[in-house]
């Protein structure tokens, strides 16, 4: 019988402490960060969210006592496999371009008969109070693992959403004059030690868009794209964007279209 002491948390801490030894070790820092990212990419707790999400997807809920199994994510009612890779897209039944989260919300309200108040009770969870939406999102995106990103660009409204997303990306406002491009518009930049992908070009968009939603180690929680956009605006010192609004969907669509062709690798893990 082998007795082993497992101090994974402490091991990680040791690696990070070694990093803080001085700027002359800049290349070592990069290697350590890369090692850390490789470590967290292998085996994401997000897979646990996927399992629970599948259960919730199949669970009968709401006044109509229905599951979400007839939800149409764009490939027909009930088709989940590969559906996320084709989002955002135009939906005839609502007459608008929708992302995954707004579509799940729509299904919770129409299929299950739940009120908007009930369905939006906790959209962004935390470690102590998880969000149903986050479990459902994890399950659905996991079903697109390996599928090539192919957000809709054939319908006029899809093209409108792409152009609007681009315009929003470059819109400078707020007390600090930030736009998304202030941080995500130039190659080779980072905030503190966090590398910033250029989201307005395919390489950066592909890398970022195929690894969100993600289990975020710093929050011990799975975080979705709607959350990521929301928290960006908070840090940009803007007021809050509405969940599933046209503005947030347009931004998502802009990145999704630029990410076209890249295989989906999520749900991922982030720092």
């Amino acid at each position: 019988m082998t007795k082993r002491r497992f101090r994974r948390g402490a091991v990680l801490a040791a690696a990070l402490v070694a990093v803080a030894a001085g700027p002359a070790l800049a290349q070592d820092e990069k290697e350590e960060i890369a090692k850390y990212q490789k470590m967290i990419a292998e085996g994401s707790p997000a897979e646990l969210w996927e399992l629970q999400g599948e259960d919730l997807w199949k669970k009968k809920q709401g006044p109509k006592n229905a599951s979400l199994e007839r939800c149409d994510l764009g490939m027909g009612p009930g088709k989940v496999k590969g559906a996320y890779a084709h989002l955002p897209r135009f939906f005839k039944d609502t007459g608008r371009v929708m992302d995954l989260e707004s579509r799940i919300l729509y299904c919770m309200i129409t299929l299950q008969g739940r009120s908007e108040k009930d369905a939006t009770k906790r959209l962004f969870g935390n470690a102590n109070q998880p969000s149903e939406m986050e479990y459902l999102v994890s399950y659905v995106v996991g079903q697109s693992r390996g599928h090539k990103m192919a957000a809709g660009m054939s319908h006029a409204k899809e093209k409108d959403a792409f152009e609007m997303g681009k315009a929003i990306f470059f819109y400078r406002a707020g007390p600090w004059d930030f736009s998304c491009a202030s941080c995500h518009g130039e190659e080779g930049k980072r905030i503190r030690m966090q590398d910033l992908p250029v989201l307005s070009e395919p390489p950066g968009a592909q890398k970022a868009y195929t690894t969100w939603p993600a289990y975020r180690v710093s929050n011990s929680q799975l975080k979705t794209m709607q959350w990521r956009i929301n928290d960006c605006y908070r840090q940009m010192r803007f007021p809050e964007p509405a969940f599933g609004s046209d503005a947030t969907i347009a931004l998502t669509h802009y990145m999704a279209v630029l990410a076209k062709g890249a295989p989906y690798a999520g749900p991922g893990t982030k720092r």
């Binding site: 990093v19 609007m164 400078r172 406002a173 707020g174 007390p175 908070r234 007021p239 509405a242 503005a247």
Partner: protein, 201 residues
């Protein structure tokens, strides 16, 4: 009906139609912000309305025409309330302002002082490895450029309103936005210029 004629006419009509047919107007972009954002905490809706600088920089993709930039920069510079006397405060306090990142968000308490978040974008003290690269390195700034009255005015002015020096700079206007107080900016100026500051060791 001569079908042969109709087809080429249709083709001509399509060829004449604009290819990039979905570019939103500036008004539409402003409107979607007004409609889809809402006030939360101290972050009010005034924040999504663009001022002249933001509008010019957005419309010109941060490359404004030279004469317009010069004129607007001049206006911004005139509006900086430079204090009289030395602009060098306490670098120890300045280090805290530079290292801290809180303030001005919807989750921050507006009654508490904000910080400058300088390390988010800049390298400063050579001993601090956790720095961003959105802005240039400021390591040794005071050592290289001295800390005379002109340099004090430049650094203070830059922190107060970076747009007075480069209209579409990425750097926020920490003074004119009400983020940092006069004393905090003097302290940051000291952090950058004071010969005994870690930045200049």
């Amino acid at each position: 009906m001569n079908t042969k004629l109709i087809v080429p006419l249709c083709a001509a009509a399509f060829a004449a139609a604009p290819l990039a047919f979905a570019d939103p107007t500036a008004d539409e972009v402003a409107a979607i912000h007004k409609r889809d954002f809402h006030k939360r905490g101290q972050a009010g809706m005034d924040r999504v309305a663009q001022d002249a600088v933001q509008r010019v920089c957005t419309d010109s993709h941060n490359k404004p025409p030279a004469d317009l930039a010069k004129a607007l920069e001049g206006d911004e510079l005139k509006a900086i309330p430079f204090p009289s006397g030395s602009l060098i405060g306490d670098w120890k306090k300045g280090e805290r302002v530079a290292s801290g990142g809180r303030g001005m968000t919807w989750s921050d308490d507006p009654k508490k002082p904000s910080a400058g978040g300088c390390y988010n974008c800049h390298q400063l003290s050579p001993k601090q490895p956790s720095f961003g690269t959105i802005g240039p390195s400021l390591t040794g700034f005071g050592k290289k450029r001295g800390s005379g009255a002109d340099m004090q005015r430049y650094v203070y002015g830059k922190v107060y309103n970076a747009k007075a020096y480069s209209l579409c700079s990425n750097m926020p206007r920490f003074g004119s936005s009400g983020t940092l107080t006069e004393q905090q900016i003097k302290d940051v100026t000291a952090y950058v210029l004071d010969p005994s500051s870690p930045v200049n060791q």
